[in-house]
Symmetry: C2
DNA sequence: CTGTTAGCGCCTTCAG
DNA sequence: CTGAAGGCGCTAACAG
């Protein structure tokens, strides 16, 4: 990576580095237009491209923002990433991307890598884990983030804040009202649905999943319904498929009532639908089915999926702008229950 | 971003910077274990995190790889990004992400930004444009990439190489056999399908789309069929929807034969299916429908979509490894026609 | 095996 | 308004 340097440009233009720097890279004081023109010509003829690393070192500001997601191929995260990218571009920042396996341990690694690169802010897009076995790694993650903040870094979190953080002054969290929305969804479904409820959630200890499960149960209780059975599985399409496979067996049992299945995200709901289909069952005829997120790519699925709409791209944009501007504290975003055909009673 | 520095660590440990550097950051020669321990202790107590910017400047190698996609929220690109990310992590690189609007002009901007950051390789994941009006921007893009290569950068391209590049020695292209596969698809469909063919493609001049259209027409010709009518529209879901809307009108016309619609990518095919549905039509009953890419998230769509499977994640992985290793020239990847229900004749 | 000395490319006071 | 000098944090040749 041996490009031409400012020194070369300056020499060619017959001026000092300082002058060349002032004309080429934004400086408060603009040199005389005659000189400026010479410098620009020299730069162009050499194909000069300022070394951002060196600039970053000199003014200790990198213009980098780090984005940590569980899986960039998951439409939930890629929609968020789109928003992050849009905000970053608008603010003249570049985004560094890291995907993790979802464990706080690998998130810690990503944070350290970003800290090493001196990213100005770090966005944690994935759900927090509250599993007992992750407690240690979570603590280490918090330590790393605290250190990062103490050194001047900003942190943006989506959904839940990171537990154990002390430098909360530089953390911006965009709260996703998972619990409240799941509660609303349950109330809406309880209105039309007679039979028992089943919740298909992610692994226990995945905060987003747990919040949605909890909220849904609250809603059921508020509607005077018994608590739903909860199936814990992978927080993805295949998890949903596995759970759906098991549920299908119960549905086909003689005399079983038609259940209402709440999958904790849309992708899982699709998995459930696929499993039901394999058993010759389909929503809403044999079971009502709802998801969460309202993933854009899934809107053309049939039966159209009842779900909770979340402005994913905005989420990414908001958390990024919040982190960049250094606004501490939480901001919030709105979602909305969307009832479609998969929970219809007009079969 | 004022973290503690190597100098501070060295002072605290009572050694020279060089020694501290040798123990903390990988060096060929390892200092005595006693000293090393002191240095590590000092680093830990200070929470030292090496400044990658400074390291990059000193050894002129950044460990950065730049990824340029049209739209990270598009499952086609996010699957590729996943592969790129995986390869990057394996090779201890970080990925910088840029999304463009798909025009060569904005791609040029991204290349310049990456060049400024001294990324060691740049991956261009999106289709090239051959539109007349993009000729100028394409040329500028080529100039920028050439300069980047001349300065030691590596370029990885997916699908088609960038036109007008002279520094081909440092460009690695993973070719996607769009034309051949589309041809195969046409042959397979012509076998079962009697009626006329319609192609729903992206805007004219989008290389990937044009290649698929061309290949499909070749296949039809080889099967002794008349050329298909081609509808040009947006290379995305909504484009497919618009085209499908128009086609639906013709299908419902009295006495019209059942057409076979080839949408140049899966997402467009979904749009077509949605539009047909709005007109009370559905595949395969009223029209056969095929896509391209075999996007994972769409496999649960019904009718299941006939398409051409592409190993998207591998594509990302391959182009990244190729670009990192500096292997010049093209490598290739295989795809396969997958016939599913949407083109079934057993209605 | 350790420490010293130069830079890497740029920005930014400070003089002139 | 311009030029000279020092420093950002680190690595890599040298010397000891």
């Amino acid at each position: 990576m041996a490009a031409s340097t400012l020194a070369e440009v300056a020499k060619l233009a017959g001026v000092s580095q300082a002058t060349a720097s002032r004309v080429l890279n934004g400086s408060a004081r603009k040199p005389a237009e005659g000189i400026a023109e010479r410098v620009r010509a020299a730069a162009a003829s050499l194909g000069y491209v300022a070394n951002a690393q060196a600039q970053a070192l000199a003014k200790s500001s990198t213009g980098l923002i780090g984005l940590i997601v569980h899986d960039i191929a998951d439409p939930y995260f890629s929609a968020i990433a789109q928003g992050v990218q849009a905000a970053a571009r608008q603010e003249h920042r570049m985004v560094l991307l890291a995907t993790t396996d979802g464990t706080p341990a690998s998130e810690k690694d990503a944070v350290m890598a970003f800290a090493g690169r001196r990213a100005e802010s770090i966005i944690l897009a994935g759900s927090r884990s509250t599993r007992r076995e992750d407690a240690g790694a979570n603590a280490e993650l918090a330590v790393e983030l605290d250190r990062y903040c103490r050194n001047g870094g900003r942190v943006g979190t989506l959904g839940q804040p990171v537990a154990g953080l002390t430098e909360t002054g530089s953390v911006h969290t965009v709260e996703i009202p998972n619990e409240a929305l799941a509660r609303e969804l349950a109330l809406a479904l309880a209105r039309d649905h007679e039979g028992p409820f089943v919740i298909v959630g992610g692994p226990e200890g995945l905060a987003t999943s747990d919040d949605r499960i909890g909220g849904f149960q609250q809603g059921l209780a508020a509607a005077g319904r018994p608590a739903a059975e909860v199936v814990h599985t992978g927080f993805n399409r295949n998890g949903g498929f596995d759970a759906g496979d098991g549920i299908a067996g119960k549905i086909t049992a003689a005399g079983a009532p038609r259940p209402c299945i709440f999958a904790c995200n849309d992708v899982m709901a699709i998995g459930v639908a696929a499993a039901l289909r394999e058993h010759g069952l389909k929503a809403p005829r044999d079971a009502a089915l709802a998801g969460f997120d309202d993933i854009e790519w899934l809107r053309d699925f049939r039966p159209s999926l009842s779900t909770v709409g979340l402005p994913l791209e905005d989420l990414g944009r908001l958390v990024t702008l919040g982190a960049i501007s250094g606004e501490a504290g939480p901001s919030a975003v709105e979602g909305a229950v969307v009832l479609r055909h998969s929970t219809s009673t007009l079969v």
